[in-house]
Symmetry: C2
Subunit: 340 residues, 2 copies
Amino acid sequence: MNTRFLDACWGKPVDRTPVWLMRQAGRYLPEYMAVRSKCTFLELCKTPELAAEVTIQPVDILGVDAAILFSDILTPVEPMGMKLDFVPGPVFENPIRSMADVDKLRIPQMEQDVPYVLETLKILRRELASKVPLIGFGGAPFTLACYMVEGKGSKDFAQIKRMMYTAPEVYGALMDKITTMSMEYLNAQIKAGAQCIQIFDTWGGILSPADYERYILPYTTTLINGLNRVETPVIHFVKGAATMLPIVQKAGGDVMGLDWHVNLGTARDILGSAMGVQGNLDPTVLYATREIIEREVKRVLDENADRPGHIFNLGHGILPTVPPENAKFMVECVHRLSQK
Amino acid sequence: MNTRFLDACWGKPVDRTPVWLMRQAGRYLPEYMAVRSKCTFLELCKTPELAAEVTIQPVDILGVDAAILFSDILTPVEPMGMKLDFVPGPVFENPIRSMADVDKLRIPQMEQDVPYVLETLKILRRELASKVPLIGFGGAPFTLACYMVEGKGSKDFAQIKRMMYTAPEVYGALMDKITTMSMEYLNAQIKAGAQCIQIFDTWGGILSPADYERYILPYTTTLINGLNRVETPVIHFVKGAATMLPIVQKAGGDVMGLDWHVNLGTARDILGSAMGVQGNLDPTVLYATREIIEREVKRVLDENADRPGHIFNLGHGILPTVPPENAKFMVECVHRLSQK
């Protein structure tokens, strides 16, 4: 078993910098498209054998140091009582707008309501046993709330912010319920075999630092504190958080995921040595020539300056039109340039 | 004449914090919609009497301390030889993809090619003489290049970044040409009566700090250095720049526009006392109750802590569905809470 990734999560020294890519199992891989062509996206998430197959693909094809469960952050939201569709972006037929809507939401029984997620993890632990560690994941409460209240993607998130500002009791009740659900969902993933948990707060960066502290931080803190993380490190990724790292850091977790809008060295100086970092190459660099991919990988490694506790990654998910050979070359560069 | 705004641009003391709103002449105002209902958006930009009328509306309705020319950042790009349409977002029929495309671009003769812009400014200076100062504006070279290369809005800006990384000579030639055009365009605005220039780099924040420094900074620096700004302060607004303020500051200018993702006091500490700041309320706060609008205005003013050189503004354009009375209340709060 390659333990480079978990060692780095715990801040231990490693022989080379571990690397994986957010959305590494996805549309840019022809092998993924071959599986995906036979079913819908949701069917793929709900069929353990297929979900496990696409999860493992990038481990074999790219040589990454960790696998991440193939699923969607909205998977556990559907059994809360929300009709979910992908067209191709996620759409909820019945967005949350009132206390009555919140009251109707139920906390799923994970073994009954998302058995396919837990089954996928179990298959993966067996199949990955001699290879790499397995990452489970979930959306942060605020990001899930954004989708549940907006009902779909949004440019300005007016609905959720309006709720936050004008109906704080509805917002609070919703966030409490999502936090409870997320805690049970992620603990079920740990029980089923996830060796690390990444929390994705894709929309946490849409608020000002003061509003993040008021409207998001308490819930994410409760969530992270409630995870069975003695043996399971937690990576907390808040996109757009680089201007408020000291606040986001208060939520806890072992590793901070960084997008590409910050110098990685500056972020480490702010976070201190007790917390690791994950990131942070601009995903579009994978459209570049090999020369520039190598230059940019080197720049990120140089910014880290050999400090322990760095996991290399993109600053956001890999883009669907990236040539797979460029992703593979990036992984090779990370391993070659970071070799001790 | 209310000189509060210009005084603050120069870092001089003021009786109350000046305030205006990005996109203050726009769709949220019924008075604007009444004018707009009679013509297309581009016709409105190109008809000086109408453009001047909607420019002045928020001065009278909201009581703001500055007027900003009603126009679009793409106005001077059209006469470079690019067919522009709004559907309703901007679309170029013939996006730039090669050196041949760049070679075909011409530098407009401002008096002949955008006479309506200059005429609008002249009308406005007469009509605003006893009221408030007049701001002219333009897009930063990179933001204009984004639209010209992508051809329309984009989520990941893959086309422009691919050009930047794989065809740097095409990218450089395009940026040079846009920089020259912008310099002539903004100097023509100053000559026609603009008393301050705001440069909008809406997409400058999509790059990493290292890439900003390499691919954007040289061009914006050339542009700002080339402006006739002895009597005309320059506000440089780069959305998403809060993680790289020391780099962006090198471009020059008198005031840094800030989005809402940064604590305004922290930004001032980084920028030092020689540069003013403009911002930075989250635009969605205008959906909130009066109590919360007032709380948030106070927070931003408190973060500034009475330092000279602060112009109050939103951190991005006002949203089209904001109630005008909330914008008016925000302006009142700024004036009331900042009164010396």
